[in-house]
């Protein structure tokens, strides 16, 4: 089977699937991540042209490994300087396109690649960019667009990260048993950062080609396939599937945020939600209880309610109690005020929020605290205070969708106030 398709879309998908595997094999063999990654980028470009024109080869990964390896040696021969010690060790250059055993992709190459790109010695931004490129198979242009930064900035970020990996001696070996948990946590953090960047930027009218939420889910699926026994990985995948499954209901046609209670649940992606719920049930039976497990469980309870009125608030409240112990801080406390208000009444919720206003980290909550206070004050009929809280929230709000929603609330409260006069 030498030709499978001439359709460009599947070529792109094939490349995104095979390039990380091929890169993994090359890094394992030749170690120098900076050079091998550069070579793979060139190989991908050339594959894109060749495969689109004359068909996909029978062994796409092997094709990419061979092409990248030739580029690697071309570069070494043309560079007017001493060969890197590691690189010199694998001279002479290949004379055939046949691959030695060491270049056959192994199952854990991709996993090693993920651990390498998400190493905690790298800062968040470069980790995110590098993971999307080396593991996600995205181009620098696509990543730059998705994060709304100039391409040159993104390219620089990736170059620096690659250099640090080489210069600082971040290894391609799998983490030692004793640091595996910490290193896995660092990987999950990167995946969740990618997801949240996509979630925060959800705008219906956008024509950005790359959806970061879907990229994060793709990485989550890959990790889950590579580490099937890790229930924290499964929990994060479930959490992302559940949030993403409800994403379409989050904004109305005018781009205004729609709160959970008012969302049209018929819009939700039921299939994806069902997958998320299945994963949550599994991790809660098998695994330890961590933040992703509990957050996913909360999302599952919301998603399983046929209507907002049928939400199992006591269960959500109990889960928030656990979450607050796992990750204490003002944000979880603020979110817990919602089920508290549902179960014990709006005044009980408001008491929590009022206590938070004097929290030393209250400023990190931004518009969320006054917005949540506005809601509960409105429900308690304290309309003037509610209007003041909504105004304060609107002044602090960074998201257009949420700002529009807050303005709607403010108008409603103002109308009620005028009606009462």
């Amino acid at each position: 089977m030498s030709e499978r398709t001439r359709d460009p879309e599947p070529v792109e998908q094939l490349l995104r699937e095979h390039a990380p595997r091929a890169l993994g094999a090359l890094v394992r063999r030749y170690r120098n991540f900076e050079y091998t990654e550069d070579a793979m980028q060139e190989a991908v470009l050339s594959a894109w042209q060749t495969w689109s024109a004359s068909g996909v080869p029978g062994n796409p990964t092997g094709w990419l490994v061979t092409a990248a390896r030739h580029r690697l040696f071309d570069r070494l021969q043309h560079e007017d300087r001493r060969l890197d010690k590691e690189l010199a060790a694998w001279s002479p250059p290949p004379t055939t396109s046949a691959l030695d055993d060491e270049l056959t992709p192994l199952d854990d190459d991709e996993l090693r690649l993920i651990f390498m790109c998400c190493h905690p010695a790298l800062a968040d931004e470069p980790r995110v960019a590098l993971t999307l490129r080396a593991v996600g198979g995205l181009t620098t242009t696509e990543i730059a667009q998705a994060f709304l930064v100039p391409e040159a900035t993104m390219a620089q970020r990736i170059v620096r990260a690659k250099r640090k990996i080489v210069a600082a001696g971040i290894s391609f070996d799998l983490p030692a048993e004793e640091s595996l948990l910490r290193r896995t946590e660092a990987v999950l953090q990167v995946v969740y950062l990618i997801f949240n960047a996509g979630y925060a930027n959800t705008r219906g009218s956008d024509v950005v080609r790359v959806d970061l939420c879907h990229e994060a889910i793709r990485l989550g699926r890959l990790l889950h396939a590579l580490l099937p026994a890790d229930s924290t990985v499964a929990a994060l995948l479930a959490l992302m599937l559940l949030h993403d499954g409800r994403r379409i209901g989050r904004a109305d046609a005018a781009g205004r945020l729609v709160p959970l209670a008012a969302q049209d649940r018929a819009l939700w992606n039921r299939e994806q939600i069902a997958e998320g719920v299945r994963l949550v049930e599994q991790v809660l039976i098998d695994g330890p209880v961590g933040r992703y497990q509990i957050q996913a469980a909360i999302a599952a309870v919301h998603a399983e309610a046929a209507t907002a009125a049928e939400t199992d608030w006591p269960q959500i409240l109990a889960l928030y109690g656990i979450l607050e112990q796992l990750m204490p801080g003002p944000l979880v406390a603020l979110n817990r005020a919602v089920p508290v208000a549902e179960v014990n009444g709006p005044q009980a919720g408001l008491d929590i929020l009022d206590a938070l206003t004097t929290h030393p980290d209250a400023a990190t909550l931004g518009h969320r605290l006054p917005a949540a206070r506005g809601h509960l004050l409105e429900r308690l009929g304290r309309l003037e205070e509610a209007a003041a809280a909504y105004r304060k929230a609107a002044a602090l709000c960074p998201s257009v969708a949420e700002l529009r929603y807050l303005e709607t609330r403010l108008h409603a409260v103002d109308a009620d106030l005028r009606g009462a006069e």
């Binding site: 010690k85 001696g169 030692a176």
Partner: protein, 123 residues
């Protein structure tokens, strides 16, 4: 790969230690040094005397200027170092986390530049 583990401490935030605590700290350093010597990872290392004994030299326009002490605004100062030769960054970070003063100050982990790569680093 070789790494320099730079131990920074801040005398104003480091709790004043009793004689017993000080002895315990010295003992911890001795144990740590013995461990990395036994594993063959120790290349070198020294403790430094306080910054009040330091002199800083600069040459500007061909003239050497000497000042007493390091930069005035520096709160954390270099108290000592280890030079280690280890498998990879993960091992260097692991060792850094075992240096007794890491509980009060911080340890900066710097890869030693391979002089053959100097052209690279200046790019």
């Amino acid at each position: 790969m070789r790494y320099l583990l730079l131990i920074y401490t801040n005398p104003t935030t480091r709790p004043s230690l009793t004689k017993e605590q000080n002895d315990a700290l010295s003992n911890d350093y001795w144990t740590f040094t013995k461990e990395i010597t036994a594993s063959g990872e120790m290349v070198g290392g020294e403790a430094l005397t306080g910054v009040d004994t330091a002199s800083t030299v600069r040459v500007r326009d061909g003239k050497a200027g000497i000042t007493d002490g390091p930069f005035a605004e520096t709160k954390e100062h270099l108290a000592g170092y280890y030079l280690v030769d280890v498998k990879d960054l993960d091992r260097a970070l692991e060792l850094a986390a075992k240096i007794p003063d890491v509980a009060f100050g911080s340890v900066e982990v710097r890869p030693i530049m391979d002089m053959g790569d100097a052209a690279d680093a200046s790019m």
